[in-house]
Protein backbone atom coordinates (compact mmCIF):
# COMPACT_ATOMS: atom_id res chain seq x y z
CA UNK A 1 0.00 0.00 0.00
CA UNK A 2 1.74 3.15 -1.14
CA UNK A 3 1.62 6.37 0.78
CA UNK A 4 0.23 8.16 -2.24
CA UNK A 5 -2.71 5.82 -2.22
CA UNK A 6 -3.57 6.50 1.42
CA UNK A 7 -3.24 10.21 0.84
CA UNK A 8 -5.70 10.11 -2.02
CA UNK A 9 -8.22 8.15 0.09
CA UNK A 10 -7.99 10.88 2.69
CA UNK A 11 -8.18 13.78 0.26
CA UNK A 12 -10.82 12.62 -2.17
CA UNK A 13 -13.58 13.45 0.31
CA UNK A 14 -12.53 17.06 0.47
CA UNK A 15 -13.41 18.07 -3.06
CA UNK A 16 -13.26 15.40 -5.77
CA UNK A 17 -15.86 13.25 -4.00
CA UNK A 18 -17.19 15.79 -1.56
CA UNK A 19 -20.21 14.07 -0.07
CA UNK A 20 -22.36 17.20 0.05
CA UNK A 21 -21.51 19.19 -3.05
CA UNK A 22 -20.52 16.40 -5.44
CA UNK A 23 -22.14 13.17 -4.29
CA UNK A 24 -25.21 15.04 -2.98
CA UNK A 25 -25.52 12.90 0.14
CA UNK A 26 -26.73 13.87 3.59
CA UNK A 27 -28.89 16.65 2.25
CA UNK A 28 -31.18 16.63 5.27
CA UNK A 29 -28.63 17.77 7.90
CA UNK A 30 -26.95 19.98 5.30
CA UNK A 31 -30.13 21.99 4.97
CA UNK A 32 -31.51 21.72 8.48
CA UNK A 33 -28.52 22.39 10.70
CA UNK A 34 -26.72 25.10 8.78
CA UNK A 35 -28.64 28.07 10.14
CA UNK A 36 -25.72 28.82 12.45
CA UNK A 37 -22.02 28.09 12.21
CA UNK A 38 -22.02 26.59 15.72
CA UNK A 39 -24.76 24.11 14.88
CA UNK A 40 -23.15 23.18 11.57
CA UNK A 41 -19.75 22.60 13.17
CA UNK A 42 -21.36 20.46 15.87
CA UNK A 43 -23.30 18.44 13.34
CA UNK A 44 -20.21 18.03 11.12
CA UNK A 45 -18.02 16.81 13.95
CA UNK A 46 -20.70 14.53 15.39
CA UNK A 47 -21.24 12.96 11.98
CA UNK A 48 -17.50 12.62 11.48
CA UNK A 49 -17.13 10.84 14.81
CA UNK A 50 -19.89 8.38 13.95
CA UNK A 51 -18.50 7.92 10.45
CA UNK A 52 -14.99 7.11 11.65
CA UNK A 53 -16.15 4.74 14.40
CA UNK A 54 -18.64 2.91 12.25
CA UNK A 55 -16.17 2.63 9.36
CA UNK A 56 -13.57 1.09 11.67
CA UNK A 57 -15.98 -1.33 13.33
CA UNK A 58 -17.64 -2.40 10.10
CA UNK A 59 -14.29 -2.91 8.48
CA UNK A 60 -13.20 -5.04 11.46
CA UNK A 61 -16.34 -7.12 11.23
CA UNK A 62 -16.47 -7.35 7.44
CA UNK A 63 -15.43 -10.99 7.39
CA UNK A 64 -17.70 -11.93 10.26
CA UNK A 65 -20.94 -10.37 9.04
CA UNK A 66 -22.88 -12.62 6.65
CA UNK A 67 -23.89 -10.96 3.41
CA UNK A 68 -27.63 -11.50 3.91
CA UNK A 69 -27.93 -9.47 7.09
CA UNK A 70 -25.25 -6.98 6.07
CA UNK A 71 -27.48 -3.91 5.96
CA UNK A 72 -29.28 -4.51 9.32
CA UNK A 73 -25.90 -5.10 10.99
CA UNK A 74 -24.54 -1.85 9.56
CA UNK A 75 -27.63 -0.02 10.73
CA UNK A 76 -27.31 -1.38 14.26
CA UNK A 77 -23.64 -0.41 14.46
CA UNK A 78 -24.32 3.06 13.10
CA UNK A 79 -27.37 3.66 15.31
CA UNK A 80 -25.33 2.49 18.30
CA UNK A 81 -22.58 5.01 17.68
CA UNK A 82 -25.12 7.73 16.98
CA UNK A 83 -26.72 7.08 20.36
CA UNK A 84 -23.34 7.14 22.10
CA UNK A 85 -22.50 10.46 20.46
CA UNK A 86 -25.97 11.73 21.32
CA UNK A 87 -25.54 10.88 24.99
CA UNK A 88 -22.06 12.40 25.14
CA UNK A 89 -23.27 15.63 23.57
CA UNK A 90 -26.27 15.79 25.87
CA UNK A 91 -23.99 15.34 28.86
CA UNK A 92 -21.17 17.67 27.93
CA UNK A 93 -22.52 20.18 25.40
CA UNK A 94 -26.21 20.51 26.35
CA UNK A 95 -26.63 23.69 24.31
CA UNK A 96 -25.60 21.91 21.14
CA UNK A 97 -27.97 19.08 22.00
CA UNK A 98 -30.83 21.58 22.16
CA UNK A 99 -29.82 23.17 18.85
CA UNK A 100 -29.56 19.95 16.89
CA UNK A 101 -32.62 18.25 18.38
CA UNK A 102 -33.96 15.35 16.37
CA UNK A 103 -31.33 15.80 13.66
CA UNK A 104 -28.78 14.28 16.00
CA UNK A 105 -30.70 11.01 16.10
CA UNK A 106 -31.21 11.26 12.35
CA UNK A 107 -27.45 10.92 11.74
CA UNK A 108 -28.42 7.24 11.75
CA UNK A 109 -30.15 7.59 8.40
CA UNK A 110 -27.57 9.98 6.95
CA UNK A 111 -26.87 8.37 3.57
CA UNK A 112 -23.18 9.24 3.81
CA UNK A 113 -22.58 6.86 6.70
CA UNK A 114 -24.52 3.88 5.39
CA UNK A 115 -23.13 4.68 1.95
CA UNK A 116 -19.51 4.61 3.11
CA UNK A 117 -20.16 1.42 5.07
CA UNK A 118 -21.61 -0.26 2.01
CA UNK A 119 -19.25 1.11 -0.63
CA UNK A 120 -15.97 1.30 1.29
CA UNK A 121 -15.67 -0.04 4.82
CA UNK A 122 -17.34 -3.36 4.00
CA UNK A 123 -14.65 -4.04 1.38
CA UNK A 124 -11.46 -2.42 2.67
CA UNK A 125 -8.93 -2.73 5.49
CA UNK A 126 -9.36 -1.04 8.85
CA UNK A 127 -6.67 1.57 8.22
CA UNK A 128 -8.06 2.59 4.86
CA UNK A 129 -11.60 2.69 6.20
CA UNK A 130 -10.54 4.97 9.04
CA UNK A 131 -8.81 7.29 6.57
CA UNK A 132 -11.89 7.25 4.37
CA UNK A 133 -14.04 8.14 7.39
CA UNK A 134 -11.74 11.02 8.32
CA UNK A 135 -11.63 12.33 4.77
CA UNK A 136 -15.35 12.11 4.19
CA UNK A 137 -16.04 13.53 7.64
CA UNK A 138 -13.81 16.54 7.01
CA UNK A 139 -15.38 17.02 3.59
CA UNK A 140 -18.84 16.94 5.14
CA UNK A 141 -17.85 19.34 7.93
CA UNK A 142 -16.24 21.79 5.50
CA UNK A 143 -19.33 21.73 3.31
CA UNK A 144 -21.60 22.40 6.31
CA UNK A 145 -19.31 25.20 7.44
CA UNK A 146 -19.41 26.78 3.99
CA UNK A 147 -23.20 26.58 3.88
CA UNK A 148 -23.64 27.89 7.40
CA UNK A 149 -21.14 30.71 6.96
CA UNK A 150 -23.05 32.03 3.96
CA UNK A 151 -26.39 31.60 5.70
CA UNK A 152 -25.43 33.05 9.08
CA UNK A 153 -23.33 35.96 7.81
CA UNK A 154 -25.76 37.06 5.13
CA UNK A 155 -28.93 35.91 6.86
CA UNK A 156 -28.37 36.97 10.46
CA UNK A 157 -25.39 39.31 10.21
CA UNK A 158 -23.27 37.29 12.60
CA UNK A 159 -20.56 34.64 12.55
CA UNK A 160 -20.62 31.82 15.11
CA UNK A 161 -22.87 33.95 17.26
CA UNK A 162 -20.66 37.07 17.08
CA UNK A 163 -22.52 39.95 15.55
CA UNK A 164 -20.92 41.71 12.59
CA UNK A 165 -21.79 45.36 13.32
CA UNK A 166 -21.28 46.57 9.75
CA UNK A 167 -23.95 44.26 8.35
CA UNK A 168 -26.49 44.68 11.14
CA UNK A 169 -26.27 48.46 11.44
CA UNK A 170 -26.63 49.04 7.73
CA UNK A 171 -29.49 46.57 7.44
CA UNK A 172 -27.64 44.41 4.94
CA UNK A 173 -28.95 41.08 6.16
CA UNK A 174 -31.37 38.91 4.21
CA UNK A 175 -33.42 37.21 6.90
CA UNK A 176 -34.94 34.54 4.69
CA UNK A 177 -31.54 32.86 4.30
CA UNK A 178 -31.64 31.42 7.80
CA UNK A 179 -35.20 30.20 7.21
CA UNK A 180 -36.07 27.04 5.33
CA UNK A 181 -36.33 28.49 1.79
CA UNK A 182 -32.92 30.13 2.18
CA UNK A 183 -31.35 26.76 2.93
CA UNK A 184 -32.50 25.25 -0.36
CA UNK A 185 -31.50 28.38 -2.25
CA UNK A 186 -27.97 28.62 -0.80
CA UNK A 187 -27.43 24.89 -1.34
CA UNK A 188 -28.44 25.18 -4.99
CA UNK A 189 -26.21 28.20 -5.53
CA UNK A 190 -23.19 26.59 -3.84
CA UNK A 191 -23.52 23.46 -5.97
CA UNK A 192 -23.68 25.69 -9.02
CA UNK A 193 -20.50 27.44 -7.87
CA UNK A 194 -18.73 24.09 -7.42
CA UNK A 195 -19.94 23.09 -10.89
CA UNK A 196 -18.58 26.29 -12.34
CA UNK A 197 -15.17 25.91 -10.67
CA UNK A 198 -14.78 22.31 -11.69
CA UNK A 199 -16.40 22.99 -15.05
CA UNK A 200 -18.94 20.24 -14.42
CA UNK A 201 -16.31 17.53 -14.78
CA UNK A 202 -17.00 15.98 -11.40
CA UNK A 203 -20.70 16.08 -11.27
CA UNK A 204 -21.64 14.83 -14.70
CA UNK A 205 -21.07 11.19 -13.93
CA UNK A 206 -22.75 11.55 -10.57
CA UNK A 207 -25.86 13.41 -11.55
CA UNK A 208 -28.41 12.89 -8.86
CA UNK A 209 -30.09 9.59 -9.48
CA UNK A 210 -29.37 6.00 -8.60
CA UNK A 211 -25.62 6.19 -9.11
CA UNK A 212 -25.36 8.73 -6.33
CA UNK A 213 -27.60 6.86 -3.97
CA UNK A 214 -25.97 4.60 -1.38
CA UNK A 215 -28.96 2.33 -1.21
CA UNK A 216 -28.61 1.71 -4.93
CA UNK A 217 -27.23 -1.77 -4.35
CA UNK A 218 -30.08 -2.69 -2.06
CA UNK A 219 -32.92 -1.28 -4.10
CA UNK A 220 -32.64 -2.51 -7.61
CA UNK A 221 -36.40 -2.31 -7.89
CA UNK A 222 -36.65 1.41 -7.26
CA UNK A 223 -33.89 2.36 -9.62
CA UNK A 224 -34.83 0.12 -12.47
CA UNK A 225 -38.36 1.47 -12.30
CA UNK A 226 -37.03 4.93 -12.73
CA UNK A 227 -34.80 3.90 -15.58
CA UNK A 228 -37.63 2.20 -17.39
CA UNK A 229 -39.64 5.36 -17.18
CA UNK A 230 -36.88 7.31 -18.79
Amino acid sequence: MSKQNNMSILLKGLLRENPVFVLILGTCPTLATTTSVDGALGMGLATMAVLICSNIVISLLRKFIPDTVRIPCYIVVIAGFVTVVQMLIQAFIPDLYETLGVYLALITVNCIILGRAEMFAGKNSVGKSALDGIGMGIGFTIALLAMSTVREVVGAGSFAGNEIPFLVENGLTIGILIKAPGGLMVYGLLIAVVNKITKGKLIKKKEFSCEGCPSASSCHGGCSAEKEDK
Binding site: T27, V109, I191, C219
Partner: protein
Protein backbone atom coordinates in the same frame (compact mmCIF):
# COMPACT_ATOMS: atom_id res chain seq x y z
CA UNK B 1 -65.09 13.29 20.99
CA UNK B 2 -65.70 16.96 21.71
CA UNK B 3 -65.18 20.07 19.62
CA UNK B 4 -61.99 21.05 21.39
CA UNK B 5 -60.47 17.71 20.45
CA UNK B 6 -61.52 17.93 16.83
CA UNK B 7 -60.04 21.41 16.69
CA UNK B 8 -56.72 20.20 18.11
CA UNK B 9 -56.61 17.37 15.58
CA UNK B 10 -57.37 19.71 12.68
CA UNK B 11 -54.62 22.06 13.83
CA UNK B 12 -52.16 19.16 14.04
CA UNK B 13 -52.97 18.06 10.49
CA UNK B 14 -53.01 21.54 9.02
CA UNK B 15 -49.74 22.55 10.61
CA UNK B 16 -47.93 19.36 9.66
CA UNK B 17 -49.15 19.56 6.07
CA UNK B 18 -48.69 23.28 5.50
CA UNK B 19 -46.58 25.03 8.11
CA UNK B 20 -44.11 22.49 9.42
CA UNK B 21 -44.07 20.56 6.18
CA UNK B 22 -41.58 17.77 6.71
CA UNK B 23 -39.88 18.22 3.37
CA UNK B 24 -39.98 21.94 2.82
CA UNK B 25 -39.48 23.31 6.28
CA UNK B 26 -37.86 20.53 8.30
CA UNK B 27 -35.92 19.00 5.40
CA UNK B 28 -36.79 15.45 6.32
CA UNK B 29 -37.14 13.07 3.39
CA UNK B 30 -35.46 15.49 1.06
CA UNK B 31 -33.54 12.75 -0.81
CA UNK B 32 -36.59 11.07 -2.33
CA UNK B 33 -38.11 14.52 -2.79
CA UNK B 34 -35.24 15.47 -5.08
CA UNK B 35 -34.67 12.00 -6.50
CA UNK B 36 -38.08 10.57 -7.23
CA UNK B 37 -40.22 13.59 -7.90
CA UNK B 38 -39.49 13.73 -11.60
CA UNK B 39 -42.88 12.39 -12.70
CA UNK B 40 -46.25 12.95 -11.11
CA UNK B 41 -47.27 9.28 -11.00
CA UNK B 42 -43.99 8.32 -9.33
CA UNK B 43 -44.47 11.07 -6.78
CA UNK B 44 -47.93 9.83 -5.91
CA UNK B 45 -46.65 6.26 -5.54
CA UNK B 46 -43.79 7.31 -3.30
CA UNK B 47 -46.00 9.65 -1.28
CA UNK B 48 -48.68 7.05 -0.66
CA UNK B 49 -46.05 4.50 0.38
CA UNK B 50 -44.55 6.98 2.82
CA UNK B 51 -47.94 7.78 4.39
CA UNK B 52 -48.58 4.07 4.76
CA UNK B 53 -45.20 3.30 6.31
CA UNK B 54 -45.36 6.34 8.60
CA UNK B 55 -48.73 5.26 9.99
CA UNK B 56 -47.69 1.65 10.51
CA UNK B 57 -44.33 2.71 11.98
CA UNK B 58 -45.97 5.06 14.47
CA UNK B 59 -48.56 2.45 15.40
CA UNK B 60 -45.73 0.05 16.24
CA UNK B 61 -43.03 2.32 17.70
CA UNK B 62 -45.28 4.31 20.04
CA UNK B 63 -46.37 1.22 22.04
CA UNK B 64 -42.77 -0.01 22.06
CA UNK B 65 -41.62 3.25 23.62
CA UNK B 66 -44.56 3.43 26.04
CA UNK B 67 -44.76 -0.18 27.19
CA UNK B 68 -41.26 -1.59 26.69
CA UNK B 69 -38.49 1.01 26.57
CA UNK B 70 -39.80 3.45 29.17
CA UNK B 71 -40.77 0.88 31.86
CA UNK B 72 -37.36 -0.78 31.41
CA UNK B 73 -35.67 2.64 31.62
CA UNK B 74 -34.02 1.96 28.27
CA UNK B 75 -35.01 5.20 26.54
CA UNK B 76 -31.52 5.39 25.10
CA UNK B 77 -32.22 2.38 22.88
CA UNK B 78 -34.83 4.45 21.02
CA UNK B 79 -32.86 5.16 17.86
CA UNK B 80 -31.60 1.59 17.38
CA UNK B 81 -34.94 -0.03 18.11
CA UNK B 82 -36.92 2.37 15.96
CA UNK B 83 -34.70 2.11 12.91
CA UNK B 84 -34.62 -1.69 13.15
CA UNK B 85 -38.38 -1.82 13.56
CA UNK B 86 -38.86 0.42 10.55
CA UNK B 87 -36.45 -1.63 8.43
CA UNK B 88 -38.17 -4.86 9.44
CA UNK B 89 -41.61 -3.34 8.88
CA UNK B 90 -40.74 -2.23 5.39
CA UNK B 91 -39.46 -5.70 4.55
CA UNK B 92 -42.52 -7.28 6.06
CA UNK B 93 -44.93 -4.97 4.27
CA UNK B 94 -43.22 -5.73 0.99
CA UNK B 95 -43.48 -9.49 1.47
CA UNK B 96 -47.07 -9.18 2.63
CA UNK B 97 -48.11 -7.06 -0.35
CA UNK B 98 -46.31 -9.30 -2.80
CA UNK B 99 -48.13 -12.34 -1.50
CA UNK B 100 -51.62 -11.02 -0.80
CA UNK B 101 -52.19 -7.81 -2.76
CA UNK B 102 -50.02 -8.16 -5.86
CA UNK B 103 -51.73 -5.25 -7.59
CA UNK B 104 -50.79 -2.84 -4.82
CA UNK B 105 -47.32 -4.33 -4.66
CA UNK B 106 -46.86 -3.66 -8.33
CA UNK B 107 -47.63 0.02 -7.91
CA UNK B 108 -46.01 0.69 -4.52
CA UNK B 109 -43.48 -2.12 -4.14
CA UNK B 110 -40.67 -0.42 -5.97
CA UNK B 111 -40.68 2.52 -3.58
CA UNK B 112 -40.69 0.55 -0.34
CA UNK B 113 -36.95 -0.28 -0.09
CA UNK B 114 -36.15 3.39 -0.59
CA UNK B 115 -38.14 4.23 2.49
CA UNK B 116 -35.96 2.38 5.01
CA UNK B 117 -33.34 5.09 4.93
CA UNK B 118 -35.90 7.85 4.52
CA UNK B 119 -35.23 10.12 7.45
CA UNK B 120 -38.80 11.40 7.42
CA UNK B 121 -40.08 8.06 8.75
CA UNK B 122 -37.56 7.79 11.58
CA UNK B 123 -38.00 11.50 12.17
CA UNK B 124 -41.75 11.30 12.54
CA UNK B 125 -41.62 8.42 15.01
CA UNK B 126 -39.05 10.17 17.20
CA UNK B 127 -40.77 13.55 16.94
CA UNK B 128 -44.09 12.04 17.99
CA UNK B 129 -42.53 10.73 21.18
CA UNK B 130 -40.84 14.06 21.86
CA UNK B 131 -43.87 16.18 21.02
CA UNK B 132 -46.72 14.22 22.55
CA UNK B 133 -44.97 11.98 25.09
CA UNK B 134 -46.36 8.65 26.19
CA UNK B 135 -48.14 9.66 29.40
CA UNK B 136 -51.08 11.63 28.06
CA UNK B 137 -54.18 9.58 27.30
CA UNK B 138 -54.53 11.22 23.91
CA UNK B 139 -50.87 10.93 22.98
CA UNK B 140 -51.31 7.89 20.78
CA UNK B 141 -54.17 9.48 18.86
CA UNK B 142 -52.21 12.72 18.42
CA UNK B 143 -49.17 10.76 17.24
CA UNK B 144 -51.17 8.87 14.64
CA UNK B 145 -52.86 12.02 13.38
CA UNK B 146 -49.55 13.84 13.23
CA UNK B 147 -48.03 10.93 11.23
CA UNK B 148 -50.93 11.13 8.81
CA UNK B 149 -50.42 14.89 8.52
CA UNK B 150 -46.69 14.57 7.92
CA UNK B 151 -47.25 11.88 5.30
CA UNK B 152 -49.86 13.99 3.56
CA UNK B 153 -47.50 16.94 3.66
CA UNK B 154 -44.80 14.81 2.03
CA UNK B 155 -47.19 13.65 -0.69
CA UNK B 156 -48.45 17.18 -1.23
CA UNK B 157 -44.95 18.62 -1.59
CA UNK B 158 -43.82 15.81 -3.90
CA UNK B 159 -46.79 16.12 -6.24
CA UNK B 160 -46.63 19.91 -6.36
CA UNK B 161 -42.94 19.81 -7.06
CA UNK B 162 -43.08 17.14 -9.74
CA UNK B 163 -45.42 19.37 -11.73
CA UNK B 164 -42.98 22.24 -11.47
CA UNK B 165 -40.03 20.03 -12.21
CA UNK B 166 -41.23 18.68 -15.52
CA UNK B 167 -41.22 22.26 -16.78
CA UNK B 168 -37.74 22.99 -15.46
CA UNK B 169 -36.38 19.93 -17.24
CA UNK B 170 -37.37 21.45 -20.55
CA UNK B 171 -36.19 24.98 -19.93
CA UNK B 172 -32.82 26.36 -20.85
CA UNK B 173 -30.74 27.05 -17.74
CA UNK B 174 -27.07 28.11 -17.43
CA UNK B 175 -24.64 25.20 -17.68
CA UNK B 176 -23.56 25.29 -14.01
CA UNK B 177 -27.14 25.26 -12.83
CA UNK B 178 -28.20 22.25 -14.87
CA UNK B 179 -29.50 19.31 -12.89
CA UNK B 180 -29.66 19.64 -9.13
CA UNK B 181 -28.84 23.34 -8.55
CA UNK B 182 -31.82 24.66 -10.46
CA UNK B 183 -34.01 22.03 -8.85
CA UNK B 184 -32.95 23.23 -5.41
CA UNK B 185 -33.59 26.84 -6.28
CA UNK B 186 -37.05 25.88 -7.52
CA UNK B 187 -37.67 23.93 -4.32
CA UNK B 188 -36.67 27.04 -2.42
CA UNK B 189 -39.51 28.96 -4.09
CA UNK B 190 -42.06 26.29 -3.18
CA UNK B 191 -40.74 26.34 0.34
CA UNK B 192 -41.17 30.10 0.41
CA UNK B 193 -44.79 29.69 -0.63
CA UNK B 194 -45.34 27.23 2.21
CA UNK B 195 -43.65 29.66 4.54
CA UNK B 196 -46.61 31.98 4.15
CA UNK B 197 -48.96 29.44 5.67
CA UNK B 198 -47.52 29.91 9.16
CA UNK B 199 -49.74 32.85 10.04
CA UNK B 200 -52.84 31.30 8.53
CA UNK B 201 -52.91 28.16 10.62
CA UNK B 202 -52.10 30.07 13.79
CA UNK B 203 -55.03 32.41 13.34
CA UNK B 204 -57.44 30.20 11.45
CA UNK B 205 -58.70 28.21 14.39
CA UNK B 206 -57.42 30.19 17.31
Amino acid sequence: MNMEMVKTLIIIIMSSVLVDNYVLSRFLGICPFLGVSKKVNQSVGMGVSVIFVMLVATAVTWPIQAYILNPLKMGYMQTIVFILVIAALVQFIEIFLKKFIPALHKSLGVYLPLITTNCAVLGVTINNITDYGVEDSNAFLFSMVSSLGCGLGFLFAMVLFSGMRSRIEESDVPESFKGLPVTLVAASFISMAFFGFAGIVENLLA
